[in-house]
């Protein structure tokens, strides 16, 4: 039931966006950058990647390739998280042509936490707060120039945030 309504909503939104572009074309005032912007907005929510239990499966479902470790990907995270329900983590990179940044926690029931799309002009740096069930490796994946780069760090959790 939930899935049906959200899918309906998304489809309707796509249709509306399409209609908007059609109207612009009709008026003959298509801004140069519309197709790219629209493509970024219309990228579907990666439903499958958010169902995968393991980190490797989630990366595969999200990107269809594997990442190589890189010291150009920097993660800022605590060594020890006292409260696993709220772990502040940020990531930044010096790599060029970054198109997305994703966060994964290998010991969580669902490994993928968040995936951020970085359009051209947006800085490759994100801060957010995530949940951790227990002590685990946290991985940041940076997609840059079509390739994947990663950084990993173990964060110790004293009180879990997922198991209840």
């Amino acid at each position: 039931m939930n899935i049906t309504t959200s899918e309906f909503f998304r489809t309707r939104r796509l249709v509306l966006k399409g209609a908007g572009v059609a109207a612009l074309i009709g008026l003959g005032v298509v801004p140069f950058d519309v197709p790219q912007a629209l493509a970024a907005a219309n990228d579907k929510y990666p439903e499958e990647a958010f169902k995968q239990k393991t980190e490797a499966d989630a990366i595969k479902a999200l990107y269809g390739k594997t990442a190589e470790p890189s010291d150009k990907v920097k993660m800022d995270a605590p060594e020890i998280a006292e409260n696993g329900a709220v772990v502040p983590i940020s990531a930044t990179t010096t790599l060029a042509d970054v198109t997305s940044i994703s966060f994964l926690v290998s010991e969580n029931p669902i490994s993928l936490i968040a995936s951020y799309k970085i359009p051209p002009g947006t800085l490759p740096s994100v801060a957010n707060r995530i949940k951790m069930a227990k002590t685990s490796n946290v991985t940041v994946i940076v997609e840059a120039g079509g390739k994947l780069y990663s950084a990993q760090k173990e964060i110790k959790v004293t009180v879990g945030g997922c198991g209840g």
Partner: protein, 103 residues
Amino acid sequence: MASSIRVRATSNGDTTEVQALIQHPMDSGFVKDAKGEIIPPHFIQVLTFEYDGKPVFVADWGGGVSKDPYVKFAFKGGKKGDDLKVSWVDNKGATDTTTAKIQ
């Protein structure tokens, strides 16, 4: 009802830094309540920031993002007084939108 989205966008001339705080339970579907029953999943799936009609940042989220989520990013450009549109949709199809002025 007041908006679920609190957003602050600050321009320093070259770039605009954006911080957003959203009120949402972000239930993962793995936590049990006091009676031992599973709290069904209820989380924001897509959060979009638009400036000048174009997305400048899109977050795809799962249930692993903390309750009342916070996110921070920055983009090049953006002028003081311009609008930044923020909207989210969750896994139940609920949605909210707000527009903030860049400061």
